[in-house]
Symmetry: C2
Subunit: 175 residues, 2 copies
DNA sequence: GAGGCCAGGACACTCAGTGTCATCAGCTAC
DNA sequence: GTAGCTGATGACACTGAGTGTCCTGGCCTC
């Protein structure tokens, strides 16, 4: 994974072959594919942890919390680990921003997260239609926040930026 | 495009090769790639029309419309053409639902639409942060609505389902 | 009818991704 | 300590997506 990111950053994602990554890591191409299902996946191995932490955070929300509040409780444990990964996130974001196929992968990871959140909401007793929309709204806030967080310099700002984005979403959707 | 959809439906997306599609259409593989940039794109050629209609609908919204209202005005011309495409949309959705790489493409098309909507909002004088969130909220409603529309039988229900989803989003985000 | 233009064919090539078998290190058992 | 098992990696061949390049033939214009 480290070998891949260095190469992507230096010479570009498209221009880097799996054979190069494997060689840099002292492995064969075949072994690369035993760890990552495809070339894009090497940049998204953190997504299981993200989902795990999000659901963990949601579990701590009070049982009577409103659906969207329960969803947003997932951000806390996530924002925590993001603090020390700001520099890394910026490099990674730059690589992704330059490649549509990586953006696709990022979007589907967010979508899968939204689906997991929806299930967690249903398990809390939230009705299905409501659950989808609360989950999607939370992911929208997260997505927008993430973009703002990598675009600025304060590594610790994630939590604050989340609240700002959430408030903006609330004011924009207020009838 | 017709040849491709028939083959995808009959034997599966993964199992269908470009050579087969090209042969069924009386062309060569090389010519396929002169019309479609990749294999997934053959299912998404309608996205320019979607974007075009959406922006057209937004242009008709009153200048003093709230951002999200302006966004949702884009649905009208879209819902119109959807009526006669319900059967097609169902086949297409079934194919997409079975293939993660097609879901990725669908998500990035929605994202591009959201970006175009954001630009249109900015052009209407909406502030940038507000514009992103209104655009993303509108796309969330559209995405959820589309899924509901293909899951039921009334081809003309799109407009109504949109309003229901929008109301649900509003109630879920109300503080 | 000579010249120019352009859509499509022919063909070779790269690279992502997969199936399959061989190898080798480490562990367990007796 | 050796026989046998297991799991990780290498070797290698193969398929299919996608691209570069050159060629051909139809059509349009003067």
């Amino acid at each position: 994974m480290n070998a891949a990111i260095v190469l992507f950053d230096e010479q570009g994602y498209e221009e880097t072959t799996i054979a190069q990554i494997a060689e840099a890591a002292g492995l064969t191409k075949r072994t690369f594919f035993r760890y990552f299902s495809d070339k894009r996946e090497v940049l998204f191995s953190g997504s299981e942890e993200l989902e795990h932490r999000w659901l963990e955070g949601m579990a701590k929300a009070p049982v009577d919390a409103a659906p969207l509040s329960a969803v947003m409780a997932g951000v806390d444990p996530v924002a925590e680990i993001f603090v020390e990964r700001h520099a890394f996130a910026r490099v990674r974001s730059r690589i992704i921003a330059a490649n549509p196929e990586l953006q696709e992968r990022e979007l589907i990871k967010l979508q899968r997260l939204a689906e997991a959140i929806k299930v967690a909401l249903r398990d809390r007793g939230v009705e299905s239609n409501q659950a989808i929309l609360a989950a999607e709204a939370g992911i929208t806030v997260f997505h927008v926040t993430f973009a703002r967080w990598v675009a600025q310099d304060d590594a610790t700002a994630f939590r604050r930026l989340t609240d700002e984005s959430l408030n903006e979403l609330r004011s924009v959707t207020a009838a």
